[in-house]
């Protein structure tokens, strides 16, 4: 059952009258907005929309939960600014709160950090129906518990986010991507390490399962030439230079996760299309030393994948002919965990899942009546 809300008061009321509920936005990550218990009310928050505060000189922005990411990006771009954590699935309609609840950062987080580094304030309705605030609207703030960070990755299970404040940064004026191919992902690892520790602040550092290393540079027209030469010298292999609209389109496709959708290369235009479940998209946090074993395991299972943020995360397509249990076991064997964004019915988190007594106790305070689904 879907209930639509367009005000905070309506959210509060919905929480109080529902025994079980889960907030949803544009549902661009269907595995996270799916419910197993048919009695669960899905609370559509897309109606809570709009930027309530944005002053470019402040480098901060506040918007309602359902505001589409593209709307934020357009407003920022008009002033040469951007969301440095580079949220994915914007073109598909992802919302601000959906992105926060899913805890998603994109390839661009290589430069300045992820979502948790840019969220500065949050408003949400807790499990008792109270409208509460955490953090604030200024870039630096140490007052009270850091509820904004807690909402990052909360999957709608700790409260219904109604508004979010973010820190933003000026965006590089020009971009260029260097592509170099290595025999395998593992073979590219040394180069990733050197770039990660090197002096150049990269806009993105990704690696495909085919061993294609993508190094995105940002600057202005003047510095880009120098950065290119230095990056190429570090990579040491022949690099293809990609510029202009082709370069932008390439990263847009990456943010849309097109290549990792089901149905092979015949990508479904609508990732929430549940008619053709053809595998699962999963996000796997890792560290660079964990790349080779994970790469081997994914390749063995026929799972297309992409490493991002300098080998801090893997995005993988787990084929439909492999069970989720197998995936979960593989991840656990490697000491890793994963988050499913879409695919067959099942739990959102797999493998080694964080939690423990601290999580249980905080959750008990936020949702004492268990109105939200289990994590």
């Amino acid at each position: 059952m879907i209930a639509t809300v367009d005000s905070v008061a309506a959210v509060q009321e919905a929480v109080l009258v529902s025994d079980r509920l889960l907030p949803v936005g544009a549902q661009t990550k269907p595995a996270l907005s799916a419910v197993t218990d048919p009695g669960t009310v899905r609370l559509d928050c897309a109606g809570l929309s709009g930027i309530s505060a944005y002053d470019p000189a402040e480098l901060t922005l506040t918007a309602a939960a359902g505001t589409p990411i593209v709307e934020l990006a357009d407003a920022l771009a008009a002033h040469g600014q951007y969301l440095p954590f580079d949220p994915p699935l914007a073109a598909a309609g992802a919302t601000l709160a959906g992105t926060v609840a899913a805890g998603l950062s994109g390839a661009g987080a290589q430069r300045y950090g992820g979502l948790r580094d840019f969220i500065i304030g949050v408003e949400f309705v807790d499990g008792r129906g109270r409208h509460v605030h955490g953090g604030g609207r200024v870039v630096k703030n140490a007052a009270g518990f850091d509820l904004p960070k807690l909402m990052v990755g909360s999957l709608g299970r700790l409260g219904v986010i109604v508004a979010v404040s973010l820190k933003v940064f000026p965006r590089a004026r020009a971009h260029r991507t260097l592509a170099a191919t290595f025999a395998s992902p593992a073979a590219a690892l040394d180069t990733i390490g050197v770039l990660n520790r090197g002096p150049l602040a990269l806009e993105a550092l990704d690696l495909t399962s085919e061993g294609r290393l993508l190094v995105r540079l940002g600057g202005d027209d003047g510095t880009l030439t120098a950065l290119t030469e230095r990056a190429e010298a570090t990579i040491g292999t022949a690099c293809e230079r990609i510029d202009g609209p082709e370069e932008a389109a390439m990263w847009a496709a990456s943010a849309a996760l097109t290549a990792l959708r089901g149905n092979g290369d015949r990508a479904s235009e609508n990732p929430s299309d549940s008619d053709a479940p053809s595998g699962d998209l999963i996000r796997i946090p890792l560290t660079p030393p964990q790349l080779p074993p994970l790469s081997t395991a994914l390749t063995a299972a026929g799972a297309r994948h992409r490493f991002s943020r300098g080998a801090s995360v893997a995005w993988a397509h787990w084929p439909a002919d492999r069970t989720l249990t197998e995936l979960s076991d593989r991840l656990a064997d490697l000491g890793l965990g994963g988050q499913r964004l879409w695919g067959r019915p099942g739990p959102p988190l797999l493998g080694t899942v964080p939690g423990g007594p601290f999580a249980d106790r905080v959750r008990a305070a936020l949702d004492p009546d268990h109105r939200f689904p289990e994590l």
């Binding site: 605030h133 604030g136 140490a142 007052a143 423990g356 601290f358 999580a359 106790r361 305070a365």
Partner: protein, 462 residues
Amino acid sequence: MEIIAALGELGLGERLLTTPAALAAFSCDGLTAFTARPCAAVLAESTAEVVATVRACHATGTPFVARGSGTSLSGGSLPVAGGVLIALNRLNRVLSIDPESRTAVLEPGVINLDVSRAAAAHGLAYAPDPSSQSVCSIGGNLAFNSGGAHCLRHGMTANHILGMTVVLPDGELTTLGGPSREGLGPDWTGMFCGSEGLFGIAVEVTVSLIPIAEATATFLAAYDSLSAAGDAVSAIVAAGLLPVAMEIMDALAIEAAEASVKPRYPPAAALLIVELEGDRDTVAADTTALEALIAVSGAVSVTHTADPEERALIWKGRKSAFSAVGWLAPDYIVQDGVVPRTQLGRALAEVEALSAAAGIRVANVFHAGDGNLHPLILFDGAEAGALERAEQLAADILSMCVRLGGSITGEHGVGVEKRAHLPLMFSPDDLTLMGEIRRSVDPGELANRGKMLVPMAEGTAA
């Protein structure tokens, strides 16, 4: 006492301190306006000892306070009278550094600056740099989400903490987060950071490291008014530049710094320090752009340097500014309010007016890029009523910060000192929820009782 007997069974030997002198030495932190005598201090040397001590406290219902170097400016490590003080400064080993992952695993007593010293061999550094970085410890940085001069680009402590092992207030040991820069599930790590010790004690901390900047350029620009310096900051942001630090000091703060560490600042009503950092080509390009911006900003004089020793001296002057105020007055209260960056000029004018109305001198040192003010309210505690007048001025300044859309604390934390001001920022519901979270984690309110939130024992929550 029951707790002393329980601690006596832990085999701590001379590391269980109960003499009057030992307890006197631990009776306050960097905020000397508040003091309290614990009943015992434990110099822990292992996680097992921290767990055992916390369990003993839990079993006997005794409040405990963890402390690293005791440098809190908000009374964050003030003991609870009659409670147990757990000193973590001896837990100061860098357990490991993984250059491939750009992470380090630390004990909580590691001195902030020692992390960068240890990481330097790998070309890496630990970004957060509170002014007390030569003394303060990672555990305290984590508990209070410390900031520093370079937050503008690099963020605060919580942005650099990836995972931790913590002792919960009942002595249970648990792990939050992990070594990856990418998270999974709710950010429990982020929630624990800045919780001011109310959720327990971090005993092992995984931090992220950044590459040591290849190039820096540090600008010193002198202005004839604070508002002119503040306008320059806005102009720099508007131009799309992203310095790593933008700091302003007023004439009184400059005077204190010159009396103390003699940084040879130019004489000015307001001094703007701007630092650029990055690869050499970007820094060169940004230097040109910044020179042009400052040239038209009304600066009386401007210099910039890439020399490491000159840069170190500039920052030494800035980072010693709080303590250097000891040269100007016997006592001071440092405040930590934040205002939106565009409100800086207005906020400074209000501070000036409040200072004049109260007849109390205020020196200003602040992280201009973050809108984080540090008014230093000077007074002489020997004068009757002087402390109370200074505290009233501090309260007025904080109210003004919140009125302008800011915060009562940017980086020092609420502690005991700003507890009464928390309702300026948060609604009763907000504070009730925070109290409920606290008591869900720590029903007895034993961990750092009395900091940030008013405990049930003292009255209604929040």
